[in-house]
């Protein structure tokens, strides 16, 4: 069967390429800042946004992006103001958005399929407008990465060192969190809110196994993310299995292969 015989499949592959690359790059920040929980917290913020979008008659995707952006914007200042770790701040935000989401679900009358789809996601039903939004966010992240690569490196190395050498690290750190939140919100429609956790951590960690510099880690992580999405889509199409799960299993397989390669390299030295 020809994978590209249907327009929805072509759109799904474009979305997969963008989602894989964006999650690959953003995942490098998530892993290096040691904040894997951000994907879960932001996924639930997006879910809460979608719930209130449905309740208020606003497009759920737009509401999800707004809620994620606001939640991500709160994480950094909350951590700094309360002198706690970003992970602790994320847990506070997570609890709040989860509470808000359940509260909102209680107010929805009739079937709740539309909002629950935001937790599972389906790349095969992604709309042209969604693909365009993914492309815009990918471009914004690319420009930010190119323009602020020094400052991002310093923040990933150590926030206090970044501050002590004269970098306004607070703004860079908050931007990293916010762009991560937006990337999660937009990709919930592709791999789903629960499965994005894996794509944001497994592919960058796989890239770390086989790279020795940060630019290489970004490039390889983006390539692995895209490859995992492509493989998952193809497997799902040919064998009629769930797409999101196939993508995650593909990213896990990539990690396994990279781990074997790096172990072999270490042993041969």
């Amino acid at each position: 069967m020809d994978l590209f015989a249907y327009s929805f499949m072509v759109r799904a592959f474009i979305a997969a390429a963008l989602a894989g690359a964006v999650c690959g790059v953003v995942g490098v920040w998530v892993v290096l800042l040691n904040l894997p929980f951000i994907s879960v917290a932001m996924a639930h913020a997006a879910f809460a946004g979608a719930v209130f979008g449905v309740l208020l008659g606003v497009h759920p995707l737009l509401a999800a992006v707004v809620c994620c952006t606001l939640s991500a914007l709160a994480v950094g200042p909350l951590a700094d103001r309360a002198r706690m770790s970003a992970n602790a701040s994320l847990s506070v935000v997570f609890s709040l958005v989860l509470g808000a989401a359940f509260m909102g679900i209680g107010f929805i009358r009739g079937p709740k399929t539309e909002v629950l789809n935001y937790l599972w996601g389906n790349i095969l039903t992604v709309s042209p407008g969604h693909v365009q939004l993914l492309a815009v966010v990918a471009a914004v992240i690319g420009v930010f990465l190119a323009a602020c690569r020094k400052e991002i490196l310093a923040v990933l190395y150590d926030r206090e060192i970044a501050r002590s050498v004269g970098i306004r690290e607070g703004g860079i750190f908050y931007l990293l969190l916010t762009l991560t939140g937006i990337a999660v919100a937009l990709n919930i429609g592709t791999v789903g809110g629960l499965l994005i956790f894996s794509l944001l951590t497994t592919t960058p960690l796989a890239a770390r196994q086989v790279t020795r510099s940060l630019p290489a880690m970004y490039a390889v992580s983006a390539a692995f993310g895209t490859a995992a999405c492509f493989i998952g889509l193809a497997v799902s199409f040919w064998w009629s299995v769930p797409t999101g799960a196939s993508i995650i299993i593909a990213s896990g397989a990539i990690f396994g292969i990279c781990l074997m390669v790096s172990s072999l390299r270490r042993n041969s030295r």
């Binding site: 290096l32 040691n34 323009a147 020094k150 206090e160 050498v165 004269g166 020795r212 510099s213």
Partner: protein
């Protein structure tokens, strides 16, 4: 000549606990100042206040005539080299020693600009100054504790700082690495006339080049002045809460003993 660092009645209160109180001191240009005292005396907090990383809750702090924690703080910090006590642990970050040292240039280079050839040359010079040229392309995760400390110092030197702040630079090193780091600090002061403030709780780590000593205890300054005025039995005994005896050898070196202890 204006002092590089001026503290006037500076205090830091955190969760109702006085970490620093009523600190007034001046650091003169080109001087080497040692801040000594037992653990918990407030030495690290004092250094972080000087670098603008902590804003004092009372009093005033000026570095190069400006507030280092103020709106222009990032510009002032670009002129201050800071070597923290604990090395950052960038667990998964794939970074070479050269890249870690280059971070010291980033504040000076500025946003949206790349490193120039001159900047890269300064980074290479900083690596050479601390004897890490051979390890420039090594992964930072493979370095020993002493090599990581030298990387931290090289990063601070890459800033071409007008003021160098060192927090326990030799505390966790083996004797050979301690000697190397302390000799490096002495040569930096001797060769470049850089203003240095060094914090240590180990009395034998006070550099010979040091011309001012600030003795701290319980968040306050117990004594400050020339080494011959401050490194005395009664002052050190009061600061450390146990008997400390200072002896001088013929070559002018001080030795510190704690009778009945291991000092």
């Amino acid at each position: 000549m204006h002092a590089v660092v001026e503290l006037r009645s500076a205090g830091v209160l955190r969760q109702r606990r006085r970490i620093l109180h009523d600190i007034s001191l001046d650091v003169s240009p080109g001087s080497c100042t040692a801040v000594i005292g037992p653990n918990g005396a407030g030495k690290t907090t004092l250094l972080r206040v000087m670098d603008g990383l902590i804003r004092p809750t009372s009093g005033a702090v000026h570095v190069f005539g400006e507030d280092p924690a103020g709106p222009r703080g990032h510009q002032i910090r670009a002129d201050i080299g800071y070597v923290p006590q604990l090395h950052p642990v960038a667990e998964h970050l794939p970074i070479r020693v050269r890249d870690a040292v280059a971070i010291g240039r980033f504040g000076r280079v500025g946003l949206f600009r790349g490193m120039s050839a001159a900047d890269r040359h300064i980074v290479s010079d900083a690596l050479a100054r601390v004897g890490l040229t051979a390890l420039a392309d090594a992964a930072i995760e493979r370095l020993s504790g002493g090599e990581r400390q030298k990387t931290s110092i090289a990063r601070a030197l890459a800033q071409q700082p007008r003021l160098l702040l060192l927090d326990e630079p030799a505390a966790s090193l083996d004797p050979r690495s301690q000697r190397e780091v302390l000799d490096l600090i002495a040569s930096l002061h001797r060769d470049s006339g850089m203003t240095i403030v060094l914090v240590t709780h180990i009395l034998s780590h006070i550099p010979d080049a040091c011309d001012t000593v600030v003795v701290m205890a319980a968040g306050g300054v117990l004594a400050q002045g020339a080494p011959e005025e401050t490194l005395r039995d009664e002052v050190l005994s009061a600061a450390y809460g146990c008997r400390v005896v200072v002896t001088c050898t013929d070559d002018g070196r001080r030795h510190f003993h704690m009778p009945g202890g291991h000092g």
